[in-house]
């Protein structure tokens, strides 16, 4: 029996037992998600049902074996009830969603023309432009946010230029404001919006645009009736890549934002570090995840629907 027939026989056996080569391919991302997402999430979920105590680690064990061999399971649902008790959590979730929504919209408005141009330009120039989009990733994200501090602060680059030109006599306070947070977020996440939009727009068949023009449509009409609807999957993909991580964003508001920038990441930090209440912090994280699943599902459905319509 040679090797090829051996492999064929093994495959047949596996197939008969319900195993497909496809499952092998799916297995890698599946295990990845299992190990790096589901297990950590299970740990967080477990802590969210315990009680904070002064110990190391600072929460009570979920279950204990009593001396006569009885398994005792203690679940504290109070951590979740507590989140509704205080309006802080609801308003923090709400303002995180708001910041994420406006950041996504602003990023989309900036990214779309950029992606459109990159998709339409000559191949030579396209490669250079794509390189420029990716280039900032070679520098640490943290350093780039710090660079914005230098640009935006009271004695920073913008204020120095404005004051030396004489546009303003007093420095404009931009650091520690929501404006700085939006600048930081949109700047950081812009590539994640541009790249999916680009991959979508570059596939657009130019003959469709020609057909539209031949039928007498003006460029604007063509854009709104042909290009924009066909690029919806790219818009959705880009929006998801921006919206979802921004909701949980902690670093940018912490570095650029003021004390009144209320976001769920900061509230979580407070629960974890200032209150030393790991269970409530975990409950905040679990609720955030559940809240995120809803928009993800909606967007995925929309994406599937538009993909189905396009094909």
């Amino acid at each position: 029996m040679n090797a090829t027939t051996l492999i064929a026989n093994v495959m047949r056996l596996l197939n008969r037992s319900g195993f497909r080569a496809r499952s092998l391919v799916i297995a890698v991302p599946f295990w990845w998600l299992f190990v790096f997402f589901l297990i950590p999430f299970a740990v967080v979920a477990k802590i969210s049902f315990s009680e904070a105590i002064i110990a190391r680690p600072p929460y009570s064990p979920l279950y204990t074996w009593t001396e006569d061999g009885v398994l005792q399971l203690k679940l504290f649902f109070s951590n979740y009830a507590y989140l509704l008790d205080d309006t802080l959590y609801v308003s923090a979730y709400w303002s995180s969603i708001k910041v994420a929504f406006f950041s996504t919209v602003i990023a989309l408005l900036i990214a779309y023309p950029m992606a459109y141009y990159i998709a339409r330009t000559t191949e030579r120039r396209r490669n250079v432009l794509l390189m420029l989009i990716i280039l900032p990733f070679w520098t640490s994200f943290l350093l780039r946010v710090y660079a914005w501090i230098g640009i935006l602060k009271t004695n920073g680059i913008i204020n120095n230029i404005l004051m030396s030109v004489g546009i303003t006599s007093e420095p404009i306070i931009m650091m520690q404001t929501n404006f700085a947070v939006y600048v930081g977020i949109v700047y950081t996440y812009l590539p994640f919006m541009i790249l999916p939009l680009f991959t979508n727009l570059v596939k657009l068949d130019p003959s469709l645009l020609e057909a539209s023009a031949d039928l007498g449509a003006r460029p604007m009409t063509t854009f709104f009736k042909i290009t924009l609807p066909l690029s919806v999957p790219g818009i959705i993909a880009g929006s998801m890549l921006v919206f979802i991580p921004v909701i949980g964003e902690f670093v940018i508001p912490a570095l650029l934002g003021g004390p009144d920038t209320l976001m769920i990441g900061k509230v979580l930090w407070n629960e974890f570090f200032s209150n030393r209440d790991w269970p409530v912090a975990s409950a905040v994280a679990v609720v955030m995840l559940v809240l995120l699943v809803i928009p993800i599902m909606l967007l995925r459905n929309a994406q599937n629907a538009s993909a189905g319509a396009a094909s």
Binding site: R56, T261, N270, F273, R276
Partner: protein
């Protein structure tokens, strides 16, 4: 060019002393909180290779300690945090037979630390300081006149003053258990009170000055004060002195002052302690003993401008530091300082919640 670069790397590598012993020590200390040459001297003396990391808040240190397996061998908790962490079983008892330099320590201050760590079993004093007011002398005088109350909490906590300082920038430490008691002290309440009404009164006062506060942060104010980006900070004494030092070096005409308010201020102790799961306890003890050397501690105080708890080091401390009432306060000022209070969990939550309310209005 590449050749020059690799030569430079080689040169840098060869100047690092070859540490034959293979012993290592991982230290986790506050940022800007040690003399430039302390670690180098320790490595040269003992042959122990040191990895040195920094943090800027007790909360971050505490989270690492409570999670366990931090990998650090020497950490520098503030005394009130130390007390709670001892209760959680975070630290190992010090083997005092390996700390002969304990004899250098100031017995009065070590006794004060005993309020948090009875019998000084787990920690020794590293440095101590106060939480007071750092200010840009010219910027404040320009807005409040030459009689500005720079020696009083009224400078920040009186809304009329704070309003006038808004444009040049006020910062508060992002440390609720230090700022809220200071506000209570200004209101004439006991800063160590644990009554919810007292916290609420302080929070109400802070809410009134909140519109005039630029930010709440525990390390950024050092460079911002020095650069003139802000003009008044409720901050830690030595950090304000570092700002003063940096402002002098920059020569941009910024002058920084520090005052312990006449109403009183928090006196805190930072301590050296060894996590219970440290894998290099002997090296950690060697380091703690090394730091307690009179000359080494004097060098650190001369560099970071914080007072120390080492009586034997005082002759080596520079005269102008010893004479500075903001660093080594005279007895009548000392009498008004208060020690940190360790709160119950429920109280901690009340304070954090009020703090969030002050900061965000929610």
């Amino acid at each position: 060019m590449k050749k020059i670069l690799s030569l430079a790397v080689l040169a840098a590598l060869s100047t690092t002393p070859v540490l034959a012993s293979g012993k290592t020590l991982n230290i986790y200390n506050w940022s800007d909180y040690i003399a430039e040459d302390t670690i180098k001297k320790f490595e040269e003396k003992t042959g122990i290779k040191v990895t040195y990391d920094v943090y800027d808040s007790n909360e971050v240190l505490e989270a690492k300690m409570l999670a366990g397996s931090s990998g650090y061998d020497v950490v520098v908790p503030t005394a009130d945090f130390l007390q709670r962490q001892i209760a959680a079983g975070v630290y190992a008892k010090l083997d005092k037979s390996k700390l002969p330099n304990l004899k250098n320590m100031d017995s009065g201050l070590m006794k004060a630390l005993g309020n948090f760590d009875p019998g000084n079993e787990y920690a020794v004093i590293y440095l101590w300081g106060t939480t007071g007011i750092g200010y840009n002398t010219k910027a404040v005088a320009k807005r409040l006149g030459d009689n500005a109350p720079t020696d009083s909490w009224a400078l920040v906590f009186d809304p009329a003053n704070a309003a006038k300082l808004k444009d040049c920038g006020i910062s508060l430490l992002d440390a609720p258990t230090e700022v809220i008691p200071a506000a209570m002290n200004y209101l004439g309440l006991d800063p160590r009170s644990t009554k919810k009404e007292d916290f609420e009164k302080a929070a109400a006062l802070l809410t009134k000055i909140r519109p005039f506060v630029r930010y709440f942060h525990s390390s950024q104010y050092i460079s911002d004060l020095a650069n003139g980006d802000i003009c008044v900070s409720v901050g830690w004494s030595g950090d304000v002195f570092q700002a003063r030092d940096r402002a002098d070096e920059a020569k941009k005409g910024v002058e920084i002052g520090y005052s312990i308010p006449k109403e009183g201020a928090l006196q805190w102790f930072d301590t050296l302690a060894i996590p219970v799961d440290s894998k290099h306890k002997d090296e950690a003890l060697a380091f703690i003993n090394f730091v307690m050397d009179a000359q080494i501690t004097a060098d650190i105080t001369n560099y970071v401008w914080y007072a120390n708890g080492n009586a034997a080091s005082l002759p080596m401390v520079e005269q102008d530091i010893k004479d500075d009432a903001g660093i080594f306060p005279p007895d009548e000022v000392k009498a008004k300082l208060w020690g940190a209070k360790v709160y119950k969990k429920r109280t901690d939550r009340v304070i954090t919640r009020l703090w969030t309310k002050v900061k965000t209005g929610k």
